[in-house]
């Protein structure tokens, strides 16, 4: 919780023991990691085991196995436990890694195009919006 009290700061008890529960971590750069949370400290540094990076594009998602992750606490946006029963109960469709990466690339491209057009239009009208630094975007 940091300086502002109000949120329970309790460490989840069962997930760090048997039966191990999967956790979903959202990072500041937008990545989604799913893995078994093995260790945590007061800065929210995390140790994730058998981690999988999940990329979502539209209704599809793809998992990239990553192994062990050690995440520095300041990059964590949120962390939540995955209900294993509900995990399979999702409308999303899993696809292969290549496919999802391709989808992502396409999506990124489309975004960039529209962004370019926007900036162009603004420029024509004499307004220029400074492009936000990528890190601050989230």
């Amino acid at each position: 919780p940091g300086g502002a009290p109000g949120a329970p700061g309790a460490v989840p008890d069962p997930p760090l023991s048997f039966p191990a529960e999967k956790h979903l971590v959202l990072l500041r750069d937008g990545r989604t990691l799913i893995g078994y949370l093995r260790s945590i400290d007061q800065f929210a540094n995390l140790v994730l085991h058998q981690t999988v990076e999940r990329i979502h594009v539209g209704k599809k998602y793809g998992d990239i196995p990553r192994g062990i992750f050690v995440v520095r606490g300041e990059n964590v946006v949120l962390l939540g436990e995955i209900d294993l029963e509900k995990e399979s109960d999702t409308p999303l469709q899993q696809v292969s890694i290549e496919e999802i990466l391709e989808e992502q690339r396409v999506e990124q491209q489309a975004k960039q195009e529209s962004e370019k057009l926007k900036v162009q239009a603004l420029k024509e009208r004499g307004l220029s919006v400074p492009r936000a630094d990528t890190l601050d975007e989230y």
Partner: protein
Amino acid sequence: QSLEDCPLDEDEDAFQALGEEDEDIDQFNDDTFGAGAVDDDWQEAHERLAELEDKAGSSREPDGPVGNDGDVLGDPEDALAERLTRLVIDSELEDPAIMQAVHTRDPPQQPGGLNSSIWDSSAMLRRIRGPLLAQEMPSVSVLDYALPQRPPQARDEERDPSERALPRRSSSPIIGSPPVRAVPIGTPPKQAAIPNFNQQILCPKPVHIRATMQQRYPTPYGERMSPNQLCNVPNSSLLGHPFPHSVSPVLTHLQRAQLLGGAQVKVLPAGRMSPSQFARVSGLVGSPLPSVNPKLLQGRVGQMMSPAGGFRAFFGAPPAPPPSQLPHPPGPGSHLQNLRSVLSLSQRPTRSLHPSLTIPTLPRPQPQMFRPDTTHLHPQHRRLLHQRQQQNRNQHRSLNGSGGDRGGHRSSHQEQIRKDPYANLMLQREKDWVSKIQMMQLQSTDPYLDDYYYQNYFQKLEKLAAAEEVHGDGPKKERTKLITPQVAKLEHTYKPVQFEGSLGKLTVSSVNNPRKMIDAVVTSRSEDDETKEKQVRDKRRQTLVTIEKTYSLLLDVEDYERRYLLSLEGERPALMGERKQKICDMYDNLRGKAPGQDRLSDDHFMQIMCIRKGKRLVARILPFLAPEQAADVLMATARNLPFLIKKDAQDEVLPCLLRPFSHVLYHLPLGTVTSLVQQLTNLPQSAAAPTNLHLTAVLQNKFGLSLLYLVLSRGEELQNSDTNTELMQDNQWTELMLMATRELLRIPQGALAKPVSIPSNLISLFSRYVDQQKLNLLETKL
């Protein structure tokens, strides 16, 4: 804390101590960034863990790091020895204080005091190592295995002499600085490091004492076991149910001492027993302990059990007083018997009490519904937790057939380990440690000051819930709140450290005693070289400062009600006086205090009203002002309304004033109201002025029009209520009304603004002064 408190520094003088600071700082650096912070041999540890993974699939039970020395650990004794050495090594890694103590000093024989455990443990170590080295055990090879870079103890004694400084410093804080920990704050407890939250004196090294053997395991160490399992097995049986939380993969040196036998066991009290001390006290081992002093154990354990002040409120109920329950095993009698009974005591589920104290979990008929240590968890979380635990327990019960069957537990436990060997990398106490840090951040002596919005939000929620309940809603939604620790406010008067024998006072600057380094003096600029713009800017800045000051006063005044309730009887008049004074100050600030001078100009007030925050400020202050003062403010506003309207064009904040104004109006007499109308409408006007710009502006502005309506309506009220007494004013009023209505008629409808609300008695008001036709016109306009 003065140096005299620290017995270790008796021989040295202050200067030397100061000089050693450097060494200490070096040591700190080392601890944080250098070799001290890292396990010397991470490679080894890594290999160990890697082996764990490898062997997990292959053998029936994971071997773990013991694999290499399997031959060596052919028999129980060797296994014990191996564990012992690992313990010793770990403690070396852990606490340079101990290492150093072993090498340099004779530990003073202190009875169980606060600092005693450090020295006691060192004494322990000495004795442990004595027999260890004496016996020609394969432990030597084990030692080599465990710490190849650090062959036998002899070498340790040639360690960095700077480490020697540590125990001294760890007992007395750095001069003037807050107490420092031997282990830097960021490191999580490997074995059982204690972050020294509230206590000035370094917590003595916490101690794990765990039963390593059960009488029901005749040859538990015949098979190869991983460190996890080693501890899991005895612990699970200890706990009575398969809870891997309280696993500690490494045994303490005391345990090894016990295992080795021949060592005098002293249970080391962890000083004040606060929940932050993770000492585990468990039953002692059965057979291999010929000489254990159960009385000593009990005595010490009893000491250990007295809970500390600090975090008591933290966890709901303090752990049940164990001393009363300790005398269960009778003093005399066979050691084994005593041990066994002590052991049985600790075999109860730890859930009923603080998890770090296994002994206090004395026989209870049923496990407590809620662990007292989980009060810091959010209630929903806690519920989920217990649900799951229940599930697990049921699961395992059904698995094993008999709930209390230890053998069954053991096998299921092993299953768990097989399924997920990494499951318990984080020990329960480590988790507690982290959550404790989080909870510490929530501690507050004055929650209304520290966390105003949270408190208010929850108050509102509770009110809502209460209101709903009153209406007899359906199932009451659970509105549970996280119990945050309440800490009593303590007055800390910091006394700067003084040195004996020094001339004068040495000023040592520190966190608690900051020293002024820079003399920042405000120099006001001369008036001559200021340009007009600068002056304007300065004036605006002045106004802003005034607004801020007044806001502080306002917040204080608004808070008085709460303080009033909390204060004692005697203090209340003083509080009221303060409040009054503050209100006067506020008003003076608003109107531009000029002692002895007639308030001729609205200038100051106008300046404030030009700023958005100023308007809001006025709106909030109005309820506190006396009626005359409030009327004064109102008049000033009305007088300068067009100007304000112009300035407010962008912000449109003026309507926020309507509500307080209407409250003020409610108390005003007719005379004031009349003059108000006068001000507002700027009537009567001189004949020369063709148009009434003032009135036009007012009418065309939402706020202005609404205000006008309000005032008119008030006037009408007054007229209706008390026609007799206000006869004198009647003429003035009537004239005004006539003029006002004329103006209203004249203005085209489109030019009229949309008022916030139209008082209902306006029509009746106008009906007095105009005929029916005009009245209809007016009605359509409104």
